[in-house]
């Protein structure tokens, strides 16, 4: 019995902005379940007294001086654009904005 339902996979896929075909949803529900069960083991040892490590080396305060450097030339900026217009990236209609 899968703990991750197809609905859950569909919800997460929407969150991740990936259109999945129904067969992909079904397959991923099965596969993710195996992985999630296996990784759930980490909670066995990840007790409250263990601090989290987010960076392998304990660096802090890596700052840059506030000094401008040349920008990318505009032709390079737009070179990869699927669509462009007047120096800007043309993107499909954006819903939900004024």
């Amino acid at each position: 019995m899968s703990t991750i339902s197809r609905d859950e996979v569909a919800r997460v896929a929407a969150l991740a902005r990936i259109d999945l075909r129904p067969d992909e949803v079904a397959r991923l529900a099965g596969e993710l379940d195996v992985i999630v069960e296996s990784v759930a083991r980490v909670s066995e040892v990840a007790t409250a007294d263990v601090p989290a490590t987010s960076h392998p080396l304990p660096l802090t305060n890596v700052f840059r001086d506030d000094v401008p450097e040349p920008a990318l030339p505009i032709q390079d900026v737009l070179a990869g654009a699927p669509q462009q217009e007047n120096g800007r990236f043309a993107v499909p209609q954006i819903l939900g904005e004024e």
Binding site: V62, R64, D66, A71, R88, P92, Q93, I94
Partner: protein
């Protein structure tokens, strides 16, 4: 159609009589650094689209962020000015959401570890009442790019619309300041909201961390509002009104939301927790799209950046260089100058505080400085429809002018003439006095000649005065003043006339 949009508005006064409004305000300020938050792209207002981007601010594959140290310093300055604690260590996090103006499809922000937290500021309302606003946090983040929407005119299918994106703004450093719920404002909630943002704007300028121009979007406010039956009731459901980008709009948006939410509650419905948009044209708000995944930002610590751990020495160094905050300065100056509350308020509203301060610093009494700036100069500024500081006269010149009056070298009327000369660009008051020959005549010689002439011209009055009736003496004095073009000291003339008549 949501329930909220179908209910009517309740008159504001009625609404605040029956409901207690609670505010929460989020202010974003664009920092005035030379470069962006995480890359060295230059920040400059009004550049051609996409000319201020690097692989980092464009979110290109492989690009990595590096924190702008100046932006951190500015954030600490803001935190300290807001009486916040500065974190010993804090981190950036990724706020994941897909949007075309967010180049990486996540915003690098701070989440559970803001750089500054637990602060407060006092704001002063129009009548001088001081209101304390508690600050929950101030954190660093980056701005998004700018979308321009094209098409979508009537008759075009929805799918024909598109947008153009400019990433010049993407990555500009922001500090977001979040209040705790602002309670107890009552009917003055709109004014409190406006005064709070105005105070912050003044603070940003005083700190020199931002140009803080509302009209350019340097300062942007989101206003949360909820209503509850009484101040003792639990907090009601709030709405967040975005795009409120002028002081007047803030006031209007709060008023409108109070009226609207009261209407919803009166109808027995519940307020929907949502984002609302403010409309400048008619002062209303409307429901924003409810995004299904808006709340699931999947925050996690930004692995491409290391923690920011400002040393206590650095924080104290920054604290030591903080300028005096506007409200504190205003209070100090009022005490020093001995102005009444109403007087001080008028001075502040007229934008005369700095000018008076400089005039006083140049040696004029506080009363004298106020007399000039709030009297004659305010009248002239008003007449020319310019700001006080735009008048072509400096506080030092006003101080010199008042000095001439105080020393008896000018009377008020002459002083106004000297001011005319200064404003006309004829130089400092001393120079105008010399050039125009406007000094009070204090030598008795020329005065006596004028007096004798006047006495000879009006023997009947001389008789009356000699007979004990001093009433008509004014006519003699007037004639003398006229003859000396007003440059005589009227008091001295009177003495000399009486002496001459021998009464």
């Amino acid at each position: 159609m949501t329930a909220a949009t179908t209910t009517g508005l309740v008159a504001y006064e009625d609404a605040v009589r029956r409901y207690d409004p609670v505010l929460g305000i989020e202010v974003h300020v664009e920092l005035g650094t030379l470069t962006k938050m995480f890359c060295a792209a230059e920040v400059a207002y009004g550049g051609e689209p996409n000319t201020q981007v690097t692989p980092v601010s464009l979110g290109l594959p492989g690009a990595l962020p590096v924190v702008n140290g100046k932006a951190v310093e500015y954030a600490i300055r803001i935190g300290l000015a807001l009486n916040c604690s500065i974190a010993e260590s804090c981190r950036f996090a990724r706020k994941n959401y897909f949007y075309p103006d967010v180049p990486k499809n996540f915003q690098t922000s701070q989440y559970d570890e803001p750089i500054a937290f637990d602060g407060w500021i006092d704001i002063e309302l129009d009548d001088g009442e001081v209101f304390r606003v508690e600050i929950e946090r101030a954190h660093m983040e980056e701005d998004a790019g700018k979308n321009t929407h094209v098409g979508g005119a009537t008759g075009r299918i929805q799918g024909a619309e598109y947008s153009l994106v400019d990433y010049n703004r993407a990555g500009i450093p922001l500090v977001e300041i979040v209040t705790r719920p602002i309670e107890g404002a009552g009917e003055r909630a709109p004014e409190v909201a406006r005064a709070y943002v105005q105070t912050l704007r003044d603070i940003f300028r005083t700190l020199d961390v931002s140009e803080a121009k509302m009209e350019r979007g340097n300062v942007r406010a989101d206003v949360n509002l909820s209503l509850r039956p009484t101040p003792e009731s639990p907090l009601g459901t709030r709405t967040e009104t975005k795009n409120v980008n002028s002081f007047r709009s803030i006031e209007r948006a709060v008023r409108y939301e109070v009226s609207r939410q009261a209407g919803v509650l009166d109808a027995g419905l519940t307020v929907i927790q949502e984002t609302r948009h403010f409309h400048e044209e008619d002062g209303t708000t409307s429901s924003g799209r409810v995004k299904s995944d808006a709340e699931d930002y999947r925050y996690f610590p930004e692995p491409d950046l290391v923690p920011v751990a400002p040393s206590r020495e650095w924080v104290e160094e920054i604290r030591a260089t903080l300028p005096e905050m506007p409200v504190a300065r205003r209070r100090r100056l009022q005490t020093e100058w001995g102005y009444a509350d109403a007087e001080m308020r008028d001075v502040v509203n007229a934008g005369a505080m700095d000018l008076i301060e400089a005039t006083v610093a140049a040696g004029t009494s506080a009363a004298g400085a106020r007399k000039w700036w709030m009297g004659e100069l305010a009248r002239r500024a008003n007449q020319d429809e310019v700001a006080l500081e735009a008048l072509a006269v400096t506080p030092e010149q006003i101080a010199q002018l008042q000095g001439l009056v105080d020393s008896g070298r000018l009377n008020d009327k002459l002083a106004r003439q000297v001011l005319d000369g200064v404003l006309a660009g004829e130089g400092d008051p001393e120079a105008v006095v010399a050039a125009r020959g406007l000094e009070i005549v204090s030598d008795d010689g020329p005065l006596l000649a004028a007096i004798d002439e006047a006495l000879a011209a009006q023997p009947d009055i001389v008789e009356k005065v000699r007979g004990g009736n001093q009433g008509p003496i004014g006519a003699i004095i007037g004639a003398v003043m006229k003859a000396t073009k007003g440059q005589a000291d009227a008091k001295r003339v009177r003495e000399l006339v009486l002496d001459r008549i021998g009464s």
